[in-house]
């Protein structure tokens, strides 16, 4: 019963947050200065009629919402318009039907663009996350086990350095190193590969993934390592570990059966939160390696005032973060019985 209350509370809070993001997304971008109909096109060949036609096409000729003609600059308009004829409610209405409208920049449906890009980002950052978690956790365990020895200090130093390296700097260094060693340095596939067998195509994508994934892994493993190490050290100082030692268990058995499970708790939170941000992509890595993912798309859309793409991308990122937080909460309630009773 308690569990259900806890669960439904968390879920309804997540839903409320998503709803809030949907509304915020719309107004956030409309407070930005500039007219999307003219962004990127500053050209005398573009007549007033052209601009007007473009505004009509994107629905920008309609008021933002009742009483407001536009938000930047703030222009008060009539309050007695049909709400369904305002940009805000058209946006909400379309969204409810799963339609994120048409990109201002490429004139393609936003859902189509985002689904292409989402996949690209997920495979890149997903691989990076998994590797970072594996390497980081192993390193952390090793460090905690060898605590306060020179090996521990060495791996601690490596992790701290890796964690504090600026992502783009490391990316550029690896890019130069990779290009001198014949690694592809841009994009996610060699153009013209689509006629090859599937396995060859995957191999090609894997080659393209190597450098960006390596960058990601190096930067993020440090975080996992440090948390794993300190969490495991905490656990190892507990009385029941002493008991286990007294029983004559080997260090391996102690780690495996008693320590690691408990030390993983804080890591679950971090992993869940980071997984959420995975969807947002890592803008710097995507930019350095010209990876056509969600991060790059978001930056480009921002530069071009491509509201529909921005709204879609932000919504996607927000939903991913909220869902993975929810997941972390649920996992916590399962892993740590104390959480339920609170």
């Amino acid at each position: 019963m308690k569990r259900w209350r806890y669960l439904s509370g968390k879920i309804s809070w997540a839903l409320f947050t998503i709803l809030f993001v949907i509304v915020l997304n719309f107004f956030l971008f409309r407070i930005l200065p500039g007219d999307p109909a003219r962004a990127g096109v500053r050209d005398p060949r573009l007549t007033r009629e052209n601009i007007e036609a473009i505004r009509v096409r994107y629905g920008l000729d309609k008021p933002i919402i009742n009483c407001f003609e536009s938000l930047n600059p703030v222009k008060i308009g009539s309050c007695v318009v049909n709400p369904l004829d305002t940009q805000f409610f058209i946006y909400i209405g379309n969204l409810l039907q799963g339609d994120m409208m048409i990109s201002f920049h490429t004139n393609r449906p936003v859902t189509e663009i985002l689904s292409e890009r989402l996949w690209n980002t997920v495979i890149l950052i997903g691989a990076g996350q998994i590797l970072a978690i594996i390497v980081g956790v192993l390193f952390g365990m090793f460090s905690a086990w060898k605590a306060r020895t020179s090996l521990d200090y060495a791996s601690l130093t490596i992790s701290l350095v890796a964690w504090s390296i600026p992502t783009f700097w490391l990316g550029v260094i690896l890019l130069f190193w990779g290009s001198n060693n014949g690694m592809p340095i841009a994009g996610m596939s060699t153009p013209g590969m689509s006629s090859y067998p599937l396995l060859t195509q995957w191999g090609d994508i894997a080659r393209h993934m190597f450098l960006p994934t390596l960058t990601y892994t190096i930067v993020y493993m440090g975080e996992y390592m440090l948390i794993m190490r300190s969490s495991l050290l905490d656990v190892l100082s507990e009385d029941y570990i002493l008991t286990a030692k007294a029983k004559g268990l080997s260090i391996f058995q102690i780690l495996k059966d008693h320590a690691i499970k408990n030390a993983m708790l804080p890591l679950v939170t971090i992993i869940a939160i980071n997984l959420g941000f995975t969807v947002g992509g890592v803008i710097q890595i995507e930019t350095v390696f010209s990876w056509p993912g969600l991060g790059m798309t978001t930056v480009e859309a921002l530069n071009r005032r491509d509201f529909p793409v921005l709204q879609g991308a932000f919504l996607l990122i927000a939903v991913a973060v909220i869902l993975s937080n929810l997941l972390a909460d649920l996992a916590y309630s399962y892993l740590d019985p104390r959480v339920k009773t609170e």
Partner: protein, 548 residues
Amino acid sequence: MKQKALYILLLAALVLSACGNLGGGQPVVVRIGWAGSPDTLNPGSAILSEAYTIFGLVYDSMYKLNLDGTFSLGVAESVEHSADGLVYTYKIREGVKFHDGQPMTAKDIKFSYDLYKAHEDFPYINSYTAYIESTEAPDDNTIVLTLSEAIPNIESQLVFMYVLPEHIWKDHAEGSATVEFENFEMIGTGPFKIIEYKQNEFVHLGANKDHFETPPKVGEVIFQTFESQDVLVQALKSGQVDMITEMPATAVETLKAEANVTVLNGAPFAPGVSDIILNQVTPENCPTADGGLCTGHPALQDRNVRLALAHATNKQKLIDVVLLGYGTPGLTLIPDGLGFWYNDTIKDYEFDVAKANQMLDEAGYADTDGDNVREMPDGSRPLIFRVNWPSDSIDAPRQAELLSEMWAEVGVKTELQATDPDALTAQCCPAFDFDVILWGWGSDPDPSLLLGVQTTGEIPTGYNETGYSNPEFDALYDQQAVELDLETRKGIVWKMQEIAFNDVVYIIPYYEQNIQAYRTDKFTGWLTDFAKIELSDVTSLVLIEPVK
């Protein structure tokens, strides 16, 4: 057990990433790196120049633009026009075929022109139809164009109006479906046809060996997108691409030292101009109905001040520092890249700080309070100018710092501020809520475009960004727009440049050059001996062949 699984996973990743070296026995492929990507493959809704580069390869139009700025006939084999210059009759080549094998006829041309004209929401191409009253195709090989005005530059109107296949586009010709048509198949008649397109990744083209005039000698061309210019340089060095369309000036020296690489610089094919916009709009001309605020510093309305600023601007230093020398000193909005239309007889204002100071002294702008900043003759306010530039500009911050130092020498203080490009547009024009903006224009092949932005009529539209207004200049503009005789028109256009220069409408720091580079060990035959450099243009790509 778990660890074993991990180990296998890692191993699998390594094996996957190691298997490579694909290909063999494939067609000859030219790989081009660029730091952009087309916004769309639909010629109606495209805005970015990268899209137009691809259109130029895949489509044909009535005229071709040559590297020297002249035009020659494309799908037409001859043209005649009526004595009053209102009716043009084109004979269309026979036997031209679209990439899907269907014949191209005059009907397709009429369809395309009508489509461009009917869609006001086509940002660029629609405006090129402004003077076309009607397009008729009396038979399969004749096009009759009737114009609303006798214009001297029909070539530059038609050159970007690509011939689309009616049998494909007729299903996408109505309403918003037209701009939203993705056109991934991109059937045209041009020397290249599309194989695969992935937005923001690459455009993969194959040769159309049946092209009526210039079948390419290579098999395929790939344009690959790189997010930064520095990475482009690295990709060329390591041989991942054979040519790069752009690169930072800072990399030129190191790249020149590289074996098997040639670096070229010259005027860009689509010439551009950097400008220092001086807000000189007068209260009478302030477009208040269109949102004009007109908060510009009154001193800039005085030609003496603008002239003094021009004398105080060391253009060579700007070119050397900002562009590392890869630019030419500017005169007016008409860049040297326009060749024939560029008035090269104008003598630039010499860089002379003493002279500039003397001018300001004589005009009554004295520094009365000894703070090294001059005041207005009536003492009302000091000569402190706001200087803004779009925050996405790489060159402008350096330019602004230098200008600030240079102008301080003549007692003019500047307040530097980078601004979001959209916010800057809102601030610029027709609001005129600024003093000085560092910005620029891209030019059409025809001078009309950039002469037009200096006319009074464009103040309310926001395209006249200085607020300059001169009835004589306006009258000459209208004259050149209908002058059919080339030499006479050139005379008017040159005169207009002189007037704009004498009135110091803008200070033009420089015309930036294009820097491109290619590998000499891969392909040969690039067109490099023109004043203009554009290796990714169709003119080069149909000529190059592999190095033996």
